[in-house]
């Protein structure tokens, strides 16, 4: 066993160099004053106080959470029916559909987002079509709508794949049993299929909400240069303003929010999870 243990050393080294040390640096930066050198660290909570006392930052945080929540809810509402239809089709078709869902992910996210800019811009595809029907051109790009559209478009495959996976492993005989006990299709869905697919929905939420709440490329492109979500604020602090300490503090606040939300989803997932794990063994 000892010889095998040794094989993990390079990996440990990698983790230390690439994850642990940068994380520690963020913590140190967040808790210190600007202009310190390594020898004379001056610890302070000013960076955090600054964030929580500034109404602009707080409203940006609120907007980020709101946009991420809307994105997640839309992903569930649109993704669940799609996942359900995929899971219900024959294996050959299922593989095709899953390929189609994952296919866009082979292309760089920036390119896909730029494509949306072309579609939504003032003289883009959508407005051309509207004009054709005699409707006034609408301002679509650089709005909340555009940002949410970009996020839903980019993150929905994760939701679909998670829900589809949990629907696909659903035991058919449970559906037969529900039918047998008098449930019609709708009752069967509400009482058996939906509750048993919740673990998939919850891991889908994790996979969509987390990147959505900290995303900065999509709001930058789809929301325009002035559109600020918390991810953009952090980016600004590091790249434009040069306030590494304050940027680190916001990153830490975001990390805490993400950890709390993960804890909550875990908690929600727990009961269902225990059940599905038990079933897996049987």
């Amino acid at each position: 066993m000892k010889t095998f243990k040794r094989l993990t050393y390079p990996y440990m080294l990698w983790i230390t160099a690439m994850i642990v040390i940068p994380m520690l640096l963020i913590v140190i930066y967040a808790l210190t004053k600007q202009g310190n050198d390594v020898a004379t660290l001056q610890f302070t909570l000013d960076n955090f106080i600054h964030f929580f006392t500034d109404a602009d930052f707080l409203s940006t945080l609120w907007l980020s959470l709101k946009i991420a929540c809307i994105t997640t809810i839309l992903c569930i509402l649109i993704g669940y029916p799609i996942a359900y239809l995929i899971a219900a089709s024959t294996p050959a078709k299922r593989n095709l559909y899953i390929l189609l869902i994952t296919l866009p992910m082979w292309i760089n996210m920036l390119v896909r987002t730029y494509a949306w800019i072309g579609i939504l811009s003032d003289n883009g595809l959508v407005n051309h079509v509207l004009q054709f029907f005699g409707i006034e051109p609408q301002k679509l790009l650089y709005t909340d709508f555009a940002v949410i559209l970009g996020m839903v478009y980019n993150f929905i495959p994760f939701m679909i794949l998670q829900i589809e996976a949990s629907l696909a492993k659903l035991d058919r005989s449970l559906l037969d049993a529900a039918n047998d006990l008098g449930a019609d299709r709708l009752q069967r869905f509400l009482k058996v299929t939906l509750p048993l697919s919740l673990p998939g929905v919850i891991s889908g939420i994790t996979l969509v909400f987390l990147p959505a709440v900290s995303s900065f490329v999509i709001p930058k492109l789809m929301g325009g240069g002035a559109y600020m979500l918390i991810g953009n604020v952090i980016e600004n602090q590091f790249i434009t303003v040069g306030e590494w300490n304050f940027g680190s503090a916001i990153s830490m606040i975001m990390a805490c929010i993400i950890m709390i939300s993960m804890y909550i989803t875990r908690k929600l997932d727990k009961s269902d999870d225990a059940v599905s794990r038990k079933r897996g063994k049987v």
């Binding site: 037969d176 049993a177 529900a178 006990l181 019609d184 058996v192 059940v275």
Partner: protein
Amino acid sequence: MEMIEMNEAKRLIEFKNIVKDFDGQLVLKGISLDIYENEFVTLLGPSGCGKTTLLRILAGFLKQNEGRVIFDGEEISELPPYKRELNTVFQKYALFPHMNVYENIAFGLKIKKMSKDVIEQKVMKMLKLINLEGFEQRNVTLLSGGQQQRIAIARALVNEPKVLLLDEPLAALDLKLRKEMQYELKRIQQEVGITFIYVTHDQEEALTMSDKIVVMKDGEIQQVGTPTDIYNEPQNRYVANFIGESNIISGIMRKDKLVRFDDMDFECVDIGFKENEPVDVVIRPEDLDIVAQDGGKMNGVVKSVLFKGVHYEIMVETVPGTTVSVKMNVTKEHDVASSDAKERISANHFFVDLEDVKDLNDAEIIARADAQAWDPENDEYLSISKIEYELKEEVGNYPVTFSTVLGTAVTVNIMVVEQKYVENPKKNEAISAFNFFKSVDEIKESVALDTDLKTWANAQGWKLSDESSVEIEDVEYDFDPDTITPGVYQVTFSTKGRVFKVHTTDIAEEGAEIALNFYSEDIHVMSKIGY
């Protein structure tokens, strides 16, 4: 007249000529079956016989291609499962893992929007029926198989169906629990007084629980009857074999109440067959008694005795198998080396029957002579590139020469003879084998000596009536293969004799000469089936 009407059980389900295929494969070939009220009916058959398919058609999960299902006087083929007045207990229980015991049992009642207190009353009554009171809040996934099984039964029964369908419900339980559940199920059925349709492949389960057994095979019904009917009066060889243990012998019905098998006539009670009609005869192992030699209907020798707990299972051979002995000529090494010693080649003399000479070809000759060439350096086989021989369809010796590409050659004799064979009219069979030549090494290197001996001697058995082949069961020889030296040895091949399985509480010595006795009513004669 009215009295008879009242006594007659009401017909509840009628299957009318049900046909079902899956992707062109016929699974049900026109099943017609009536099921009555309050019956415990078992659909019995091996996996793939269509029993579960029939059940799923009745439950509404599958739709038949042809035929009608009539339930309580109404055609229900178009009715979806949730509108049918029956419930199913699934093979792997199919309990809802996200609900506790109470919620599982209450599922059907909640769907029917019954009031809370009525639901609670009914669920509690069910828990009492299945002896699981106090389990309401338990997680179903943490219960034992037997408990899950009973919850599944309660979940179905609480809906007060007219029929309960059970799809191999005990298959996943261990033996002891299965036996307990058999009684439990029968008790529950009698207590609630509804029709149970039970699917199983376990004949013992079927015999224990059923009022009526439906034996199925390949999508067809073989026999319908009470357990005693099915056991005592099986309609054919298949049913007799599937239900309980049995000795089945081919025979001929001489006339009413007289059957002939193993070259002897026996009185029986069966009538209605054609004169000299070929039939199958069943004698159950427990109907045979072992008595002193010449004191019974057939003399025999005890071949083996097995202790089975309540009884002994004794195999008695009444007609010995057919036997033939041949001589095996064992020589030392007989391989030939090439001049540069780079190659070795070997082959055996062999005998062949005059009648078979015309069937000999190169490949056959190589196989029969066991001709082999190899490189002694690395033991790799080399191909034999040339065979030279001249054969006539006359008795005599004919040399044959095998050679490799490099010209290393060996010559052996093909000995054409008129082979005698041993006939055994009592068992309607014959057996033949040839003397043969082998080297010490070949015998020592054999990994399956019995099989090799059969091949080397070309031992064959066949039926006298239709020349179909008869397996050679026994190979005996008078040498020890590990220490064999050159010389001549005897090898004896024999077919299996007529062996009767006897279940008795009296022990008999292995090898004892005894007789078997039975009563004429213990013989059950069946028509042959056409496969």
